[in-house]
Subunit: 308 residues, 2 copies
Amino acid sequence: MIFSLTLNAALDRFLYTDALIEDDTVRVDRVKDYPAGKGVDVSRVINELGGHSVAVAFLGGHTGKVIEEMLDDEGVVYATVRSEEETRTNILVQTGSGQYRMSLPGPVISVKEVYKLYKTIDVLLRKDDYLLLCGSIPEGVSSDIYAQLCSRMRKIGVNVYIDSDKEPFSKGVEAKPRGIKPNIHELQRLLNRELIGEIDFRKAISEVSNKYSIEEILLTMGAEGAIASVSGEFYRIRVPKVPVKSGVGAGDSFLAAYCMYRELGETVKTALKMAGAASSAAVMTPGTELCRFDDVMSLASKIAVEAL
Amino acid sequence: MIFSLTLNAALDRFLYTDALIEDDTVRVDRVKDYPAGKGVDVSRVINELGGHSVAVAFLGGHTGKVIEEMLDDEGVVYATVRSEEETRTNILVQTGSGQYRMSLPGPVISVKEVYKLYKTIDVLLRKDDYLLLCGSIPEGVSSDIYAQLCSRMRKIGVNVYIDSDKEPFSKGVEAKPRGIKPNIHELQRLLNRELIGEIDFRKAISEVSNKYSIEEILLTMGAEGAIASVSGEFYRIRVPKVPVKSGVGAGDSFLAAYCMYRELGETVKTALKMAGAASSAAVMTPGTELCRFDDVMSLASKIAVEAL
C-alpha cells in the first residue's frame, strides 16, 4: 500500500476576478475550494488513476472537516491525525492576466500531536509499503521529522520517498530515502549551487545519489520533462507541448503516478512514462485541479522515455 | 430600541503581506477576521459607544457561527435569522502600498428564509423603535425588500433609516423612510446625475427631501465631513484632519452615532456632532475596525456643527 504524508495540509481557495485594483473593491465572480498539500495531492492523483493509497495528514477545525468531506466525495482514503488548531486556507486569486498566490500561516502542531502522528504511522505501515513524505513542515514540528520518519520506516522495509524543500528536505536526504523528487530549484537549494543545462543536472543527480546512497532520483523540469536516475540507470522523459492552465500539482502528479505504477509491479520505463503523462495532464487543468484520467491515458503514448 | 438589519452579512478577512506578485506565492504574515456587513457594523459602533441595539442578520454555516461568537465576545446583542447557505467571507489584502478588497459571492436566500426574517422583524419591533436598513441585498431577495419593510414598519410608528445603494436604495427611498444616509456616490446614483460642490449637494438633498418627503438626510463626504438636512433645517458638519488608517466603516459609524444619540433624546446638533466624531474616529483604525470610544470622545470637541 502507498501512504502519503501531509504535515502542512491546506484548503486552496481560488478566487476568480477580472483584475485586482489597489484601494478598490472588486467583485469575485466565482470561488472554488480544493483540498491541498502535496501529500493530499499525491493521494488524489493515485485515486484518479484508479489506484489505492492512504492520505495521512494533520487536519484540524472546520477547514479540516471540509477537506475530509472533499476527500470522501472523491473516494480518497485518509487517516487523519487531528490537530487542535484549524487547518489553514490559502488564497489564490486568478485574474485575467495572471495568478496571485498567498500562503497563509497554518496551525502550530503540539508535541502530543507529533506523537499521535508517529503512532499512526507505526500502526499503519508494514514491510514493502510506500511512504511518501511530501511538502513543508508546520510550526512546532522539528525540521528533522522527515529524517526521523525515514530512518524509522526503512528499518522495517518501507520504501520512503521525499518530495520537499529546504531544511526538512536536506536533513531527510541524509537519512537515505529510497527516492526523492526535487524540481530544479529544490535540487539547486539542496546542493547550494546553480545548475545549468542537462549535463549539469545529471552530474548533480549522480553526486546526490552517490553521496547519500539514494536509489531513485526523479528530477522534474516543467515543460522540459524530467530526468530520472533509478538504480544507477539514467532516463530522459520528454513530454509533448500541452495547453497550460496551471502548473500547480504537476510535480505531485509525477511522483504519484511513478510510485503507483512501481508498486503495481510495472517496469521503471512504464512508471516514468505514466509519471510524465500525469504531470503533463496536471498542467492542462486550472487552479489546484490535478490530472484527469482521460488526459493521462491519451497523453501516455506521447511521452518518450529513453535510457541514457 | 435600535434595530440594525444586515441581509448580506460577511466575515472580512484581512491578509497582511508585503506585496502581491503576479504568478508568484507570497507569505501572509498575519490574518485578522472582523464581523462585517453595514448593519452589523452599526450595532458594533453603538455597542462601543455604550448604547444598546439589536443586530438582526441573516447568518449561516460555520462562518455565521464565527460571526456570532465574535459579537458575543464584544457584547453586541443579535437576533440571527438562520440561512441554510454559508455566510460569505470577503478577502482584503493589506500590502505595504495599499489595500486590495475582494467582495465574494454570498448565500442565496430562500423565500422561506425571507418569511422568517419578516416574522422576526414583526415580533421584535414596536412603536418608536429605530430600524436601520443597511447594505446590499443577497441573491434570492427582491430588490424592493427595503421598500416593503419600510412601509410595513412606518405603519406601526417605527423610525426607519436606509443606508444602501442602487436599486434597493432607490426603491426604499420611495417608501418614505424617516432618514437616509447616502455618501456622495450613492446620492449621485440615486439622482442619476453628477454633483459638484456643496451648493449642488444641498440642492440635491432638498430635491430628494421634497420629492419623497424624507425628514432626515445625512450626506457623508469623507474628509470633507457631512451635510445634514433634518426637518427642513440644514447643518454643516466639519471634521478635523486625523491620521487615516482605513476608510472602511466611517459612514456606518456616522449613522450609528446619529441614531443612538437621537434615540437617547439628544438634540439634532449633539447627535450630528457625535456622528462626526464617530466617523472621524473610524478612519483612525486599521482594517474593518470601527471607531474606538476614547477617540470618539476626544474628537467630539473638535467637531463643528453649524446650522446653515
